[in-house]
Amino acid sequence: MNSIILLAVLAMCAIGVTAAIILYIVAQKFKVIENPLIDEVVELLPGAHCGGCGFPGCRSLAETMVKRGSLENLNCPVGGKEVMAQIATILGLVAEEKDPEIAVVRCSGSKFNAPLKVLYEGASSCSFLNQLNVGESGCPFGCLGQGDCVFSCKFDAIVMDLETGLPVIDNELCVACGSCVKACPRQIIEIRAKGKKDRRIYVSCVNKEKGGVARKNCSVACIGCGKCVKICPFDAITLENNLAYIDFEKCKLCRKCVKECPTNAIIELNFPIAKEKLPTVSEVEA
């Protein structure tokens, strides 16, 4: 009885040792030599695999960073400046300076500004509604409100405001990876510079119809009047196909266009409320 147990144990040991030797030899022969720096860089990257850098996943970005030997045009929008600086020190390279960016929803066609004309009951998908018909408000360019951008966001940075029916982007959580830009079938969302103190000015409309037609469906549509183009002291605004566009690289945030816009299509974000000029004593008396 004892000998059977002993034999079994010895046999198992022998198989184990042979297998170990074979595995060791195979492991040595087919060893993949990888730069240890790649693993270090991957550790630093956020690991969201969002695709915001243009590479399929964080590891692929890390490999490119290490192999290319320079950080030109390579940037992790999620990690931002800090992560890039750390990677740069590990690799002994210089990180490219890039201003922080954020996604911006360029539509103000809320339920109040662009009242519903028809009711949609089908699958909650913007891309389907976009090819089916013009949408509930009747604007062929505006937000459809089914939330494709919300589903595409991996950082929970977009939520649907149920009151207005428009998506709202969280200032802190958005990392400008651009997945919502790709998800929106109407190209409403744009990645823009975050701006100093998060202050931003943009045309919140993408309607290319003629003014009167656009205004029929939405009270805050850009009518392409060109007043903002004339008043802008920095030539930052261009007018094309009845639609104004503010170049965020040229814009100096002077806010002249915001006051000039007759339809309130230009939006200012995170500015302090303008102090109203109190009438002076002499004016009151007069």
Partner: protein, 442 residues
């Protein structure tokens, strides 16, 4: 009685207007004629603002192989050539004509006498059909001459004529068969001559007994035409299902019916072909069914292309108060309108008005894996899987599961006990997959 085997459903027929004779709609004051009323490239407008046109005059020329000519449906002055809101709510290029009566082109033979003999050769027939802008009248509006131009190496054996009209509510083909049976028969012989086929089969569903009887007696006057009564089952009027039912052949995935030697045309197309070849009349009017349970006078109307849908509803007794939804086409494959002032086109077979109660969708619930959608799918697909793949945006897998074979008949969504938007999601998947395939080819 013949029918197709795989899948299919039996929705309520609701053919309310099937005993109504065809009524002619008065000519509207202004018509909006879209230049894209067919599958394929939009036609190019050849008239300008201020030009005076006659009824039946060419106003937009087909651009490319898959395209069709568009003709004026009234006589009068061209007000403008610009983008007009169509039934989807989007703006599409259209020719707007203000009518001043009904002055037809001299070349059109307006007599009601039936011309049986066709002296034209095959090539000339196909050219004529192309020139007159004939498209498939069943609803898909595929240019008819393309179907008749059989590619080299292929041979057409059978001409199948679709008088099935399996969509609930719609009766435009039925009323056309009753009113213009003999003309349709002549149209079929012309199509047979154009295709060089000896045999034509007409398939009519068994719920149209009067049409079957009439067509059977008429068919004895003509050589090579037989009429078949088909078991009532949706979607029998789909091209591939009709071939399966009548000839017993199956069209391979992603191929056209000509692959199995068949060409399918609608009875409406056969009538349009008769008018085009024998009477020289372009396609600018069609029979439209205006129907619905709440409609005062459900009717079959002969309307000019470009007449607004709201004008047709007026003729049928006006819009009922409790209207919840207006659908262009039938309840299964039609589209809900977002603009009732949109014009009718060559492909508008019916306008269905649903009450508020009927039009509400049931609340969507979770999939219970009952497999009913698979049982009813006439193409042998797995709709629940395709919908899920499209929802998850896994386009490659959706393509591998043959999402492009779906013909959007809606049987799956109709039968789903959880009221899931299966077809809606499959449609998203189809458009995305075909887009991916297109970019891959380029």
């Amino acid at each position: 009685m013949k029918t197709f085997k795989l899948g299919g459903i039996h929705p309520e027929e609701n053919k309310i207007s099937d005993q109504q004779p065809i009524e002619v709609v008065p000519i509207p004051q202004t018509v909006y004629i879209p230049v894209s009323q067919h599958l394929g490239a939009p036609a190019k407008p050849i008239v300008e603002k201020g030009e005076v046109v006659k009824t039946g005059q060419l106003i937009a020329k087909g651009d490319g192989f898959i395209s069709a000519n568009v003709h004026s449906s009234v006589s009068g002055k061209v007000l403008k050539v610009e983008e007009v809101v169509d039934f989807t709510g989007y703006r599409r290029m259209s020719v707007v004509i203000e009518s001043d009566g009904d002055d037809w082109m001299e070349s059109i033979d307006r007599s009601l006498e039936i011309k049986k003999e066709c002296t034209l050769e095959s090539k000339a027939i196909i050219d004529k059909i192309n020139e007159m802008g004939i498209v498939g009248m069943g609803g898909a509006t595929f240019p008819s001459y393309v179907k008749l131009s059989v590619p080299q190496g292929k041979k057409a054996e059978y001409l199948l004529i679709n008088g099935v009209e399996c969509e609930p509510y719609l009766t435009s083909d039925h009323s056309l068969m009753l009113a213009k049976g003999r003309e349709i028969m002549v149209g079929i012989t012309i199509l047979m001559k154009g295709l060089h086929v000896k045999q034509a089969m007409i398939g009519i569903e068994n719920n149209k007994q009067d049409a079957i009887q009439l067509m059977t007696t008429l068919a004895t006057e003509f050589q090579g035409i037989t009429v078949y009564a088909l078991k009532v089952k949706y979607p029998q009027g789909a091209e591939k299902q009709l071939i399966k039912a009548l000839v017993g052949r199956e069209v391979p995935s992603g191929k056209l019916p000509i692959e199995v030697g068949c060409v399918v045309h609608n009875v409406g197309t056969a009538f349009a072909v008769y008018e085009a070849v024998q009477k020289n009349k372009p396609l600018f009017e069609r029979v439209v069914t205006i129907t619905g349970k709440s409609v005062k006078k459900p009717s079959n109307l002969l309307a000019r292309v470009g007449t607004s849908i709201s004008a047709l509803i007026e003729v049928a007794g006006g819009l009922p108060d409790d209207t919840g939804k207006i659908i262009s086409g039938g309840p299964m494959m039609g589209r809900a309108l977002s603009n009732a002032d949109a014009p009718i086109t060559k492909g508008t077979s019916g306008i269905l008005i649903m009450t508020e109660k009927e039009s509400k969708r049931n609340p969507t619930m979770n999939c219970i894996r009952c497999g009913r959608c698979i049982t009813v799918c006439p193409m042998g697909l797995e709709p629940f899987l395709l919908a899920k793949l499209a929802e998850n945006q896994t386009w490659d897998e959706a393509e591998a599961e043959h999402i492009l074979d779906c013909m959007e008949c809606g049987s799956c969504q109709y039968t789903c006990p959880s009221a899931r938007p299966l077809l809606d999601n499959v449609r998203v998947g189809k458009s995305m997959v075909s887009q991916i395939i297109r970019t891959r080819k380029n």
